[in-house]
């Protein structure tokens, strides 16, 4: 976008003409106390909650506690220069952020200011960060899959557009990687992604952005970054900013995917802010409204019905647990708000099963409604077999000699399924590729392949299938279904592939 010389000249002309114009009337107050990023202000009698305040030195604040005698505001940014007696002006604006397509590919802070050095964000549209979630009548139930490109998720824990699926697990279990897989898999698709980093190390955010750029995923992604060094109020705002930007996409009838990484740190930031604002502490010193903090955020993700544009906003909140404690305060809160959770287990991770998804504790409450017909067919059987395998595996650890042949066959099938469900990170598979491998697994074509050869079999198979049966893959991709005829062709192709590969 170029700036035409006359545009600037016309603006200057207008400014000069209006120079002696009307007086501006603003509400003002005086700082009576400033500490720890919170200022108590006398005056500002007409200020509204969540209104932006102008502190000296180009610093913004947000009015939060409106009391009889004073207003408590959090300072959004550096606060060391703010002192008693400073004048504070109200701006008349409720906290708002820029929205729109100009943000795509950008890294911005929670107030929408660019952090990537690529110049200003060229958008004039803004939305208030606090919004009421869409109501019941404007919503529709989730029915379209949001492909992660990860076999174990798309097969066993399918996520649909407009769903809220929690990613929960200890540190270093692959929570962020799983979400990055999901973002990268939207490449070339119709889903715009928003990645919100809350209180993370700046180096980790930089690495994440680099990964996304490397895989060409920044072309459909917006990153909102609040680093660990940012003041708590800025970290507090970050997810709401992300939700607002995603909402704008949803209300314009398109699909958005938003990742909150992570809400544990968000709760910490809010706890700090609340304690400094002298709000009463509750359990684990969190304020009483920490549930509402996350419920009002996640409720803003929805699938709109056709009268309202049919857009969607899918949320993937991340929660980090301490030593696998799912029953701590914040994890239980978020589990109860979301439509299911993906639980990543450190034991599985160290055992080399990656993604380290615990198929017993993970669930998607939307279920197979968010799967294509073909996937539903093969994944339904897979899910059943995995459940039976988990049951038998507990007994089988004492030895398999006494088991009857059908049980032993189930065990073998389960072990192969576990192998098939392993997947290297940042390597998404398309829906049709997943359907073919699940079909081979459940139809028994893999039963005579040794367990340790499964991974090699699979990587070769996808290449073989792309080269030899592109028509079958194309049919699955376009119809979303796996016909009997296509199944037969797959059987034949698998037999031929086994011969050529010698597996």
């Amino acid at each position: 976008m170029t700036i035409r010389g006359q545009d600037i000249a016309s603006v200057i002309k207008r400014q000069i003409e209006e120079f002696g114009g009307e007086l501006t009337l603003v509400d003002v107050g005086t700082v009576v106390e400033a500490a720890d990023g919170v200022a108590r202000i006398h005056g500002l009698s007409d200020v509204r909650s969540m209104e932006l305040l102008q502190f000296p030195g180009d610093t913004l604040g947000m009015a939060l506690n409106l009391e009889e005698d004073s207003v408590s505001a959090v300072i959004l940014g550096g606060f060391s220069h703010i002192k008693e007696g400073d004048e504070v002006r109200s701006t008349g604006r409720i906290v708002e952020v820029p929205v729109g397509d100009a943000l795509v590919g950008r890294v911005v802070d929670p107030l929408g200011r660019p952090l990537d050095g690529k110049g200003p964000v060229n958008t004039s549209e803004t939305r208030p960060v606090e919004q009421i979630a869409p109501n019941v009548v404007s919503r529709k139930s989730v029915d379209t899959p949001l492909q992660f490109g990860v076999k174990i998720v798309d097969g066993l824990i399918p996520v649909g557009r407009g769903q809220r699926e929690l990613i929960i697990g200890d540190r270093n279990t692959g929570k962020t990687s799983l979400c990055l897989d999901a973002i990268i898999n939207q490449k070339g698709g119709d889903v715009t992604c928003v990645y919100v980093a809350i209180g993370q190390k700046a180096s980790k955010v930089a690495a994440t952005v680099a990964t996304l750029e490397q895989h060409g995923a920044m072309d459909h992604t917006i990153v909102i970054s609040s680093a660990a060094s940012d003041p708590a109020p800025v970290q507090y705002l970050a997810p709401y900013t992300g939700a607002t930007i995603a909402e704008h996409i949803m209300y314009s009838g398109r699909d958005a995917l938003i990742v909150y990484d992570d809400l544990t740190k968000h709760a910490w930031a809010y706890r700090q802010m609340s304690l400094l604002l002298r709000r009463p502490p509750g359990r684990e010193a969190y304020p009483g409204d920490v549930f509402y903090l996350h419920s009002r955020l996640l409720e803003r993700s929805a699938r709109m019905n056709d009268e309202n544009g049919g857009g969607s906003s899918t949320a993937l909140p991340i929660i980090e647990t301490q030593a696998g404690d799912l029953s701590a305060y914040v994890p239980t809160n978020v589990i109860s708000i979301t439509d299911g959770q993906i639980y990543l287990q450190p034991e599985l991770f160290t055992a080399g099963i990656r993604p380290a998804l615990d198929t017993g504790l993970s669930v998607s409450r939307v279920g197979s409604a968010a799967q294509t017909k073909g996937m539903k067919g093969v994944a339904g059987r897979l899910r059943l077999e995995m459940a039976q395998f988990r049951e038998i595996a507990t007994f089988a650890q004492f030895g398999t000699d006494d088991l009857d042949s059908s049980t032993r066959a189930q065990l073998e099938r389960g072990r192969r399924a576990t192998e098939v469900l392993k997947q290297v990170e940042l390597n998404p598979l398309s829906m049709e590729q997943q359907v073919t491998i699940f079909y081979l697994l459940t139809s028994g074509a893999l039963d005579d392949v040794a367990q340790e050869n499964i991974l090699a079999f699979e990587s070769g198979w996808h290449e073989y299938a792309a080269a030899n049966i592109p028509d079958v893959l194309g049919e699955i991709a376009s119809s979303g279904d796996l016909s009997d005829e296509a199944g037969k062709k797959l059987d034949e192709a698998a037999a031929a592939y086994k011969q050529t590969a010698g597996l």
Binding site: T2, G29, G43, D46, R89, N122, T123, S124
Partner: protein, 185 residues
């Protein structure tokens, strides 16, 4: 600043009494006298000292505030009883604010780059009076930093017509993204 709500409640009570007795001006003087007396270090120490009998404190009040009305002396005694002597100054401020509001008087601080002339002063008071619909009593301050124009503050409201602010606004408008420019033209 602490205790402002407390002071407001005392001031409200006193103001209602003053209205009932139609003696707002008398009370303004009396409260002034009381606040000045209680503001003096020695008298404050005497009223706050726990070892001094209350009777002696009352007598002290009667002596110091001999010129004040009986009700005003009662107020001082009540403050002693409630251990709220330290709020005397704040009560005076609040009472003045209530009296101002009652009399339709607003106090404004006017900042200019150069000292105003009498005619300008009159015009400013008149204009401000129209804006807030009250009789405006101004205090003036000269601050060359604002370059030109005028800044007036009445209560919580600020009328900012300074050249400094205008320049800052213009700078912000010019630095805004070009999309804004297109919408303007």
């Amino acid at each position: 600043m602490a205790g402002r709500p407390t002071a407001r409640r005392y001031a409200q009570a006193v103001f209602e009494l003053a209205l009932e007795h139609d003696a707002v001006d008398q009370w303004l003087n009396d409260i002034d006298l009381m606040a000045d007396a209680m503001g003096s270090e020695d008298f404050f120490a005497l009223l706050e000292a726990p070892q001094v009998p209350v009777r002696v404190k009352y007598r002290g009040i009667d002596t110091v505030m001999a010129g004040a009305s009986q009700l005003a002396r009662n107020l001082a005694s009540v403050l002693v009883d409630h251990r709220s002597v330290r709020f005397a100054g704040a009560i005076r401020d609040q009472f003045r604010a209530l009296a101002d509001a009652h009399n339709g008087v607003a106090r404004a601080e006017v900042v200019t780059a150069v000292a105003m002339e009498d005619a300008e002063r009159e015009r400013v008071s008149k204009l401000l009076g129209e804006l807030v619909s009250a009789n405006v009593v101004t205090t003036e301050r000269v601050d060359p930093d604002i370059i030109g124009g005028i800044i007036a503050r009445v209560g919580d409201h600020l009328f900012d017509g300074s050249v400094k602010t205008r320049l800052a606004d213009m700078r912000a408008a010019l630095a805004a993204p070009p999309v804004d420019l297109r919408q303007d033209s």
